[in-house]
C-alpha cells in the first residue's frame, strides 16, 4: 500500500435507465464536476464516453474511474443472455424450470415464466452426493465429457455445472470443472457452489446460471469500455460496482458477474450511508423516488441491510449478498384511477417512461402522480427535463377533471391533492412493511430522500411514519454516481454449515471465519488500488431448530473464537429484539457462516458538491420568486429558493419550495429546514413556526 499525498482525480459514473450520471472529484481542493447525459441503451459505453466529454475530463490526468453499469441487470430482465448450457445431477435438469412451485400473484391463476436456460440446453450426468456430502453415485466422467461436447455442438458459450448438495461437498463439481477446463474453449464456466455455498438447489442454480449467462456480455462490455478509455489516454485501473455496495476491478468483475446485478440501487445506498455518516445520521431509510420506480432500503448503525435472498423479479432469485433495496411503488408515473367502488386508487399501474405522465407530452393520457404535482404547483412544466412540450396545465387539469374529479365529485385541484394524499399514504404503508420485515422502528430513523421526485414527497411520508427528520443530500439527482466515488472494495463469503449450536466445534467455526477472511484479503490485496484500512465483519445466520426463517447475528463485537454460550445468548437477544418473544428452551442452529472483507478507500471531502462560490449570504438573496403552491388544502403564495444559492447555515420555515438542477424540495407549513457544512438540508418535521 502506498501513501498518496498528491491530488487525485476520481470519477464515478453510474448508468441509469434514463440518464448516465458522472461526478468528478479533485481530492485536494474538493472541486466537483458533474455531468448528466442520456443513457445509450444499445451500448452503454457511448453514454459513459459522452458523460466524460461533457465533464471535460482529461482522461490522462484521471487517477481512478469507478463505474456502475446496468448491463447485467438489463440482460437478465430482458433475457438477452449468452447461450448457456447446464450440466446437472441425473434426474434434476428441470429444477431451473420448476422453480419453487409458485405463481406470480396470490389471486388470478395466470402467469408466465421463462427459465434462464432453456430445457434442451440442460443436460444430466450420473453423480450424486447425499445431504452430508457423502458420495452416493460417483461422477460419470465419460458422461460429463459427452455432455460438454453436446453443449458445445449446440453453440453454447457459457457452462454451468450444478450438482445437488455441492455446498456440502463440492468434489464432484470440481472434478467436472476440471474436465470442462480441458474441453471448454473459454473461462465462462461457473460451478454451482462457487458464488454461494448454500443449500437450496433452485436459488443456487439460478444464481450460477445468471452468472454464466451474463459473464461474456459483461466481459465484452467492460473490455470495450476500457479499450475506449485507454485510447483516450486513460492509464489507470477501473473499478466496477457490485450489488453488495462494494467494488471490484474491471479485470476480475466478470468472474462473478452475477454480483453486478442490481448494483445501481446499491450505489445509491452507499452514497446515503456515506453522507449520513458525515452528517451524524447513522440510522437511515433511503427513499429513492424516480419516474418509474420507488426504492427503499434501511441503514442501521451506518451499515446497509444486506441480504442473500434477493429476488429481482418473479421467481428469479439471485442468492449472492446484495444490499437489500426494495421497490415499493411505481414512482412519479404511477397512474391514478377511480375504481368501481368509487374509490381513488394510485398504482400499481405505471405510465412508465414512455409515454410517461401527461406532462411529458409524449402522448400520455392517464393522470399520474407527476401530473398531480404539476396541478398543485409543486412542479413546474418548464422544470421537467423529459418534457417534450406542447402540453399545458389546462390540458392536464382537463384530464384530472374527466378521469377523476367527475367520479369523485371534486374539481381537478382537489383530485390532484387526493392523488398525492393517497399516493403518500400508500408509499408510507409500503415503507412500513419493509421496516416491519427488518424489525426496524421508523422513529429511530431519518429519511434520506433522493431521486427526481423523492424530495417532493419525503416530508409528508416522514410525517405519516413518525420519522422526525428528512435528510436531502446536496445532489439528490446524482446520488448513485456519488456512491461509485465513495464505495469501498468488498468481498463477501457465505458458507452453509447447518449445524446445531450444541454440536458446534468452536475451532471449526473459527477456522471457517479465518479461511473466509484470508480468501478476501488475498483478493483485495491483489487489487491495484490504495486501501486505507482493511475491515472484517463476521456474522452467523441462525435459527431455532425446527424453524425455517433465518436471523442474522452480527459477531463484530464478540471476541473470537466465540463460545457456544456466548453465541446462544446473543442469538436469543437478537431474536427477542426482533420478535418480542423469548424462547430459551429451544436449541439454536447455525445455518451460514458469513464474512465480509472490506478494503476501505480514503474518505473524500464532499463539501464542494455545491460550490461555495455560488452561495449567497442571506436567505433573501437566494429567493428566486414566489409561486402559488397547494399545501395544507389551499393555494398559498410560497417563496421559491434556489438550492445552490442558499447560505450554508440556512434556517427557514415552511411553506417553501427549494429548486435545484435535478430535483425540487417541498417544505410544508409546520416544518423547518436547517443545513450543515456538507451542503445537506434537513427538514425537521413538525418543528417549524406556524
Amino acid at each position: 500500500m502506498t501513501e498518496t499525498t498528491l491530488a487525485q482525480h476520481v470519477i464515478g459514473i453510474d448508468v441509469g435507465g434514463t440518464f448516465t450520471d458522472l461526478v468528478m472529484l479533485e481530492t485536494h481542493s474538493g472541486a466537483v464536476t458533474i455531468a448528466k447525459v442520456p443513457t445509450t441503451l444499445d451500448n452503454q459505453a457511448y453514454g459513459v464516453l459522452n458523460a466524460l466529454k461533457e465533464a471535460d475530463a482529461d482522461l490522462r490526468a484521471v487517477d481512478l474511474i469507478i463505474h456502475g453499469t446496468t448491463t447485467t441487470t438489463n440482460a437478465v430482465l430482458e433475457r438477452k443472455l449468452s447461450r448457456t448450457g447446464l450440466i446437472t445431477t441425473h434426474g434434476f435438469r428441470d429444477i431451473l424450470e420448476l422453480g419453487r412451485r409458485t405463481r406470480p400473484q396470490a389471486y388470478g391463476m395466470k402467469g408466465i415464466f421463462t427459465p434462464i436456460i432453456p430445457r434442451h440446453l440442460r443436460l444430466e450426468v450420473a453423480e450424486r452426493m447425499d445431504y452430508a456430502g457423502r458420495v452416493v453415485t460417483p461422477l460419470d466422467k465419460d458422461g460429463m465429457r459427452q455432455a460438454i461436447r453436446q453443449l458445445l455442438d449446440a453453440g453454447c458459450e457459457s457452462l454451468v455445472i450444478h450438482f445437488l448438495h455441492a455446498y456440502a461437498n463440492p468434489e464432484h463439481e470440481k472434478q467436472a470443472a476440471a474436465i470442462a477446463a480441458e474441453l471448454w474453449p473459454n473461462n465462462y464456466v461457473t460451478m454451482g457452489h462457487a458464488l454461494l455455498s448454500e443449500s437450496r438447489e433452485y436459488e443456487r442454480g439460478v444464481t450460477a446460471a445468471v452468472n454464466a449467462s451474463v459473464q461474456p456480455l459483461l466481459e465484452r462490455y467492460i473490455q470495450r469500455l476500457v479499450t475506449e478509455l485507454k485510447s483516450n489516454g486513460y492509464q489507470s485501473e477501473m473499478l466496477v460496482m457490485n450489488g453488495n455496495g462494494g467494488t471490484v476491478s474491471s479485470q476480475d468483475v466478470a468472474r462473478e458477474a452475477a454480483k453486478t446485478v442490481m448494483s445501481g440501487p446499491a450505489s445509491g445506498v452507499i452514497a446515503a450511508m456515506n453522507t449520513g455518516k458525515a452528517a451524524g445520521h447513522n440510522h437511515l431509510i433511503t427513499y429513492d423516488m424516480g419516474g418509474t420506480s420507488t426504492d427503499v432500503s434501511v441503514i442501521k448503525d451506518g451499515k446497509p441491510s444486506v441480504s442473500n435472498e434477493i429476488e429481482i423479479e418473479y421467481a428469479m432469485p439471485i442468492h449472492v449478498p446484495m444490499i437489500d433495496v426494495r421497490t415499493v411503488g411505481a414512482g412519479g408515473g404511477s397512474i391514478a384511477r377511480v375504481n368501481a367502488a368509487g374509490l381513488l386508487e394510485v398504482g400499481p399501474d405505471s405510465a412508465g417512461a414512455d409515454p410517461g405522465p401527461v406532462c411529458y407530452g409524449r402522448g400520455g393520457t392517464e393522470p399520474t402522480i407527476s401530473d398531480a404535482n404539476m396541478i398543485l404547483g409543486r412542479l413546474e412544466l418548464k422544470s421537467v427535463k423529459s418534457v417534450e412540450g406542447g402540453i399545458s396545465l389546462d390540458h392536464i387539469k382537463a384530464i384530472f377533471d374527466e378521469s377523476l374529479g367527475q367520479h369523485l365529485n371534486m374539481d381537478a385541484v382537489a383530485a390532484a391533492d387526493a392523488v398525492i394524499r393517497v399516493a403518500n399514504a400508500k408509499m408510507a404503508g409500503a415503507i412500513r412493511m419493509v421496516l416491519v420485515s427488518l424489525g426496524a422502528d421508523p422513529r429511530d430513523f431519518s429519511l434520506f430522500a433522493f431521486g427526481g421526485a423523492g424530495p417532493l414527497h419525503a416530508a409528508a411520508i416522514a410525517k405519516e411514519l413518525g420519522i422526525p427528520t428528512v435528510l436531502i443530500p446536496a445532489r439528490p439527482g446524482i446520488t448513485n454516481a456519488l456512491g461509485c466515488v465513495v464505495a469501498d472494495l468488498r468481498q463477501d463469503f457465505v458458507q452453509t454449515i447447518n449445524t446445531p449450536l450444541a454440536k458446534m466445534d468452536a475451532k471449526h467455526l473459527h477456522d471457517v471465519f479465518i479461511q473466509q477472511e484470508n480468501q478476501g484479503r488475498a483478493i483485495i490485496d491483489k487489487e491495484p488500488i490504495d486501501i486505507d484500512e482493511m475491515s472484517i465483519s463476521r456474522s452467523l445466520d441462525m435459527q431455532f431448530v425446527g424453524q425455517t426463517h433465518i436471523l442474522n447475528v452480527n459477531l463484530d463485537h464478540m471476541d473470537l473464537p466465540a463460545s457456544q454460550d456466548d453465541i446462544q445468548d446473543l442469538f436469543e437477544q437478537v431474536y427477542f429484539n426482533r420478535f418480542r418473544v423469548k424462547l430459551d428452551k429451544i436449541n439454536a442452529n447455525i445455518v451460514n457462516v458469513n464474512t465480509s472483507v472490506i478494503g476501505k478507500r480514503k474518505a473524500f471531502d464532499l463539501s464542494q458538491l455545491i460550490e461555495s462560490d455560488g452561495r449567497k449570504s442571506s436567505l433573501a438573496d437566494a429567493r428566486i420568486g414566489t409561486r402559488k403552491v397547494h399545501v395544507a388544502g389551499q393555494f398559498v403564495d410560497t417563496p421559491v429558493y434556489q438550492r445552490e444559492s442558499l447560505p450554508l447555515d440556512v434556517s427557514l420555515n415552511g411553506p417553501a419550495m427549494i429548486q435545484q438542477m435535478d430535483t425540487t424540495i417541498l417544505v410544508e407549513p409546520g416544518d423547518r429546514v436547517s443545513s450543515d457544512a456538507q451542503g445537506n438540508l434537513f427538514i425537521h418535521v413538525g418543528k417549524g413556526a406556524e
Partner: protein
C-alpha cells in the same frame, strides 16, 4: 356521518395495512415451516356484532378468504348465548372445531377482542395451520377416517390466554394430544403476538381518524365493496351457467363424488346452486359449510382479483342447495380433505361454469390438488421419529392470453415448495428425480402447464406413507375445445414391486422399508381452445424442448414436425384438415 372518498381510500388502505402487518409478523416469528415458509395462515379484522369481515391480509392463504368471518360469527353467537364465556381485555380464544366455521382440525384459529374506551369494538383473528393436532395419522390428513374423532383433537372456543396469561392447564391438554408438541409454543406465541401487533396498529389508526369516522368508514367501505363487485357481475350476461367437477373418491368408498353447480346470473347477483351434488360421504372428503362458501369466494376472487377482501364483496354472492350434500358436512363427518382438496374442486366448478361467460378472465382448470404425500416413521440414522410432507403443485390451465404456468401451487395456496436439499437434510429420503412431467399439459390453442414428476426413496428408516391427492380419475378440465390435463398418478415400489393405490390418489399407512420408493406424477393444466388452432411454431418449440413427443404433436395438435425439428407446413395443413373432420 359522510366521509370524503379520499379519507375513505386512506382508511381502507390503513385497515389493509393492519392486517398485512399481522400476516407478516405471524410468518416471520412462526416456527413451523407450514406457516413460516408456506404462509398457511391468515389474519383479519372482524365486526363485533356478527363477525363479518372488515379487512383481511392480502398475503393470507386464499382458502381462508371467507372462513374466518364464520368462525368469528359463531364465537360471537356462543358468547351471546352464554355457551362460551364473555371476553375480557387481553383474552385470546382458541378454536379449531371445523363445524364452528372452520376448515379441518389443523387450521387453528385465535380470536382477540379489540376494545375502545372499555367497549368491544371488533375482533382480531387469525388462523394458522399447525403441523399436527393429533389423530390417527401424523399431520392429520387421514385418508381413511370415518369420524372427526379419528382426525385429531377438537377444541371448542376456549380462552387459551386469560387477560394476557397463557392458561398452562389448557395448553398442557393440547400438548398431551399432539405430536412434536415441544416446538408448538413457538407457533402459539407467534400467533398471539401477531394479534397484539394488530391491536397496536389498529389503535394507532383509530386514534388518528377518530372512532366515529372509523365506524362510518367501515360501514361505507362495506357498501362500496358490494357496489364494486356488483358492477363486475353486471357485465356477465344474464343466464344459467352449469358445470360438474369430480372428486376421485372419499378415501374409504371407491366412488367419485360429484359437485354439480348451476350459477344463476341475474342483474348484479350471482347465485351458486349446488343442488344435486353427492350426499355426505363416509371418508374425509366432506366439506364444512364455511369452507364451501370460502371456496366459492376465493374462486370469484381469482376471477376478479381487483376487489379487496371484505364482507361487502361477498354480499352479491349467494350459495344455495348444499343441504344434504358433502359440501355441508355436519358432526361427526370426517373433513380433513375439505381445505386442501374439495375446496379446489369447488373452485374448478366455478371456473368451468363461468369460462364461457368471462373467456378473457377465467382459465381452464388448474392441477387443483395439493398433492399431499405424508411419510412418518423412525429415522434410524439420526435415532429420531419424523413426519415429512411433500406437497406438490401441477400445471395451470391455459387461458386467453397464454399457456398455463408449469408447476404452480394449489388454487387455494400461495406457498413455496421446500428445496429437495432441505428435504434430504431433514428427512431420511433420497430423491432420484424431480422433473417436468412431459406430455401432461392439456392440449389447446393455449395448452395447459406441465405437472411435476418425482421419485423418492426411503433410506435408513422405516415409515408409513399416506396420500391425499385428487384428479387421479379425471384430469383438470380443458375448456372451449381444449383437452383435459393428465391425471395424477401414484406408484409405490416395495421390495422392487410396483403397486397403485386402489383409490388412485388416496391411501393410508402403506408400510415402507429402506430402499422402497414412491413415484408421484401430478396433473397438467387443462387446455384452452382448440389445439388444432395452436401456432405450429409453438408446438415445434414444445417438441424441441421435449415437452411433447412428435407423435403427441401430430395426434393432439395436428402438427407434423420433421426429423430435423421443423414444421412440415403442407403435412400439417393436411393433418389438421383430417383431424378436424374426424371430430
Amino acid at each position: 356521518m359522510t366521509i370524503d372518498p379520499i379519507t375513505l381510500s386512506v382508511i381502507q388502505f390503513g385497515l389493509q395495512q393492519v392486517c398485512d402487518e399481522m400476516d407478516l409478523s405471524f410468518s416471520r416469528a412462526a416456527f413451523s415451516p407450514v406457516i413460516a415458509e408456506a404462509n398457511d395462515r391468515s389474519d383479519g379484522i372482524y365486526s363485533a356484532e356478527d363477525g363479518s369481515l372488515i379487512a383481511q391480509g392480502a398475503g393470507g392463504l386464499p382458502v381462508f378468504v371467507g372462513t374466518m368471518q364464520y368462525s368469528t360469527r359463531v364465537l360471537t353467537e356462543r358468547i351471546k348465548e352464554g355457551i362460551t364465556p364473555a371476553p375480557k381485555p387481553d383474552d385470546i380464544y382458541i378454536v379449531n372445531d371445523p363445524y364452528l366455521g372452520g376448515t379441518h382440525l389443523m387450521d387453528v384459529r385465535f380470536a382477540r377482542p379489540f376494545y375502545r374506551h372499555g367497549k368491544l369494538f371488533c375482533w382480531l383473528s387469525n388462523t394458522g395451520h399447525w403441523p399436527d393436532t393429533g389423530g390417527s395419522v401424523p399431520g392429520g390428513f387421514s385418508a381413511a377416517a370415518t369420524a372427526v374423532e379419528q382426525e385429531g383433537l377438537r377444541l371448542p372456543p376456549v380462552r387459551l390466554f386469560k387477560e394476557g396469561q397463557l392458561d398452562e392447564e389448557i395448553y398442557a391438554i393440547i400438548c398431551s394430544n399432539i405430536r412434536v408438541a415441544d416446538q408448538r409454543i413457538g407457533d402459539v406465541m407467534a400467533q398471539a403476538a401477531a394479534l397484539k401487533v394488530g391491536e397496536d396498529r389498529l389503535n394507532a389508526l383509530m386514534d388518528r381518524y377518530g372512532d366515529d369516522v372509523m365506524v362510518a368508514a367501515i360501514a361505507e367501505l362495506r357498501t362500496r365493496a358490494a357496489t364494486q363487485m356488483r358492477a363486475l357481475i353486471q357485465d356477465i350476461p344474464d343466464g344459467v351457467y352449469s358445470s360438474v367437477a369430480w372428486v376421485d373418491s372419499d378415501g374409504v368408498v371407491d366412488e367419485p363424488l360429484a359437485i354439480r353447480l348451476a350459477i344463476h346470473k341475474s342483474g348484479d347477483q350471482l347465485t351458486f346452486d349446488f343442488a344435486g351434488s353427492s350426499p355426505p360421504c363416509i371418508g374425509p372428503m366432506n366439506s364444512v359449510l364455511a369452507t364451501t362458501l370460502s371456496s366459492v369466494y376465493l374462486a370469484v376472487r381469482h376471477i376478479f382479483p381487483e376487489v379487496p377482501i371484505s364482507a361487502g364483496a361477498f354480499e352479491p354472492l349467494t350459495v344455495i342447495g348444499v343441504e344434504n350434500t358433502f359440501l355441508d358436512a355436519r358432526y361427526p363427518r370426517p373433513v380433513s380433505g375439505c381445505a386442501a382438496e374439495v375446496s379446489q374442486r369447488i373452485a374448478e366448478a366455478v371456473f368451468a361454469a363461468l369460462v364461457d361467460a368471462l373467456p378473457d378472465r377465467v382459465t381452464a382448470a388448474p392441477a387443483g390438488t395439493s398433492g399431499n404425500f405424508a411419510l412418518g416413521g423412525h429415522n434410524a440414522e439420526k435415532g429420531q421419529d419424523f413426519v415429512m410432507y411433500q406437497l406438490s403443485g401441477g400445471g395451470y390451465g391455459g387461458n386467453a392470453d397464454h399457456d398455463g404456468l408449469t408447476n404452480g401451487c394449489s388454487t387455494i395456496g400461495i406457498s413455496k415448495a421446500p428445496p429437495i436439499e432441505i428435504m434430504e437434510q431433514s428427512f431420511p429420503v433420497l430423491y432420484h428425480r424431480y422433473a417436468l412431467r412431459e406430455g401432461s399439459g392439456g392440449a389447446g390453442c393455449h395448452r395447459g402447464g406441465f405437472g411435476l414428476e418425482y421419485e423418492v426413496e426411503l433410506r435408513h428408516a422405516e415409515a408409513r406413507a399416506s396420500f391425499v391427492m385428487d384428479h387421479g380419475r379425471y384430469g383438470p378440465q380443458g375448456v372451449r375445445g381444449g383437452k383435459d390435463g393428465a391425471v395424477n398418478t401414484v406408484t409405490v415400489w416395495r421390495n422392487g414391486e410396483a403397486s397403485v393405490p386402489p383409490h388412485l390418489s388416496k391411501q393410508q399407512d402403506i408400510p415402507l422399508q429402506s430402499g422402497d420408493r414412491v413415484v408421484v406424477a401430478t396433473p397438467g393444466g387443462g387446455g384452452y381452445g382448440d389445439p388444432l388452432t395452436r401456432d405450429p411454431d409453438a408446438v415445434k418449440m414444445d417438441v424441441m424442448l421435449e415437452r411433447y413427443t412428435h407423435d403427441q404433436a401430430k395426434e393432439w395438435f395436428g402438427v407434423i414436425i420433421t426429423t430435423d425439428g421443423e414444421v412440415d407446413i403442407t403435412a400439417t395443413r393436411e393433418q389438421r384438415k383430417q383431424s378436424a373432420t374426424h371430430l
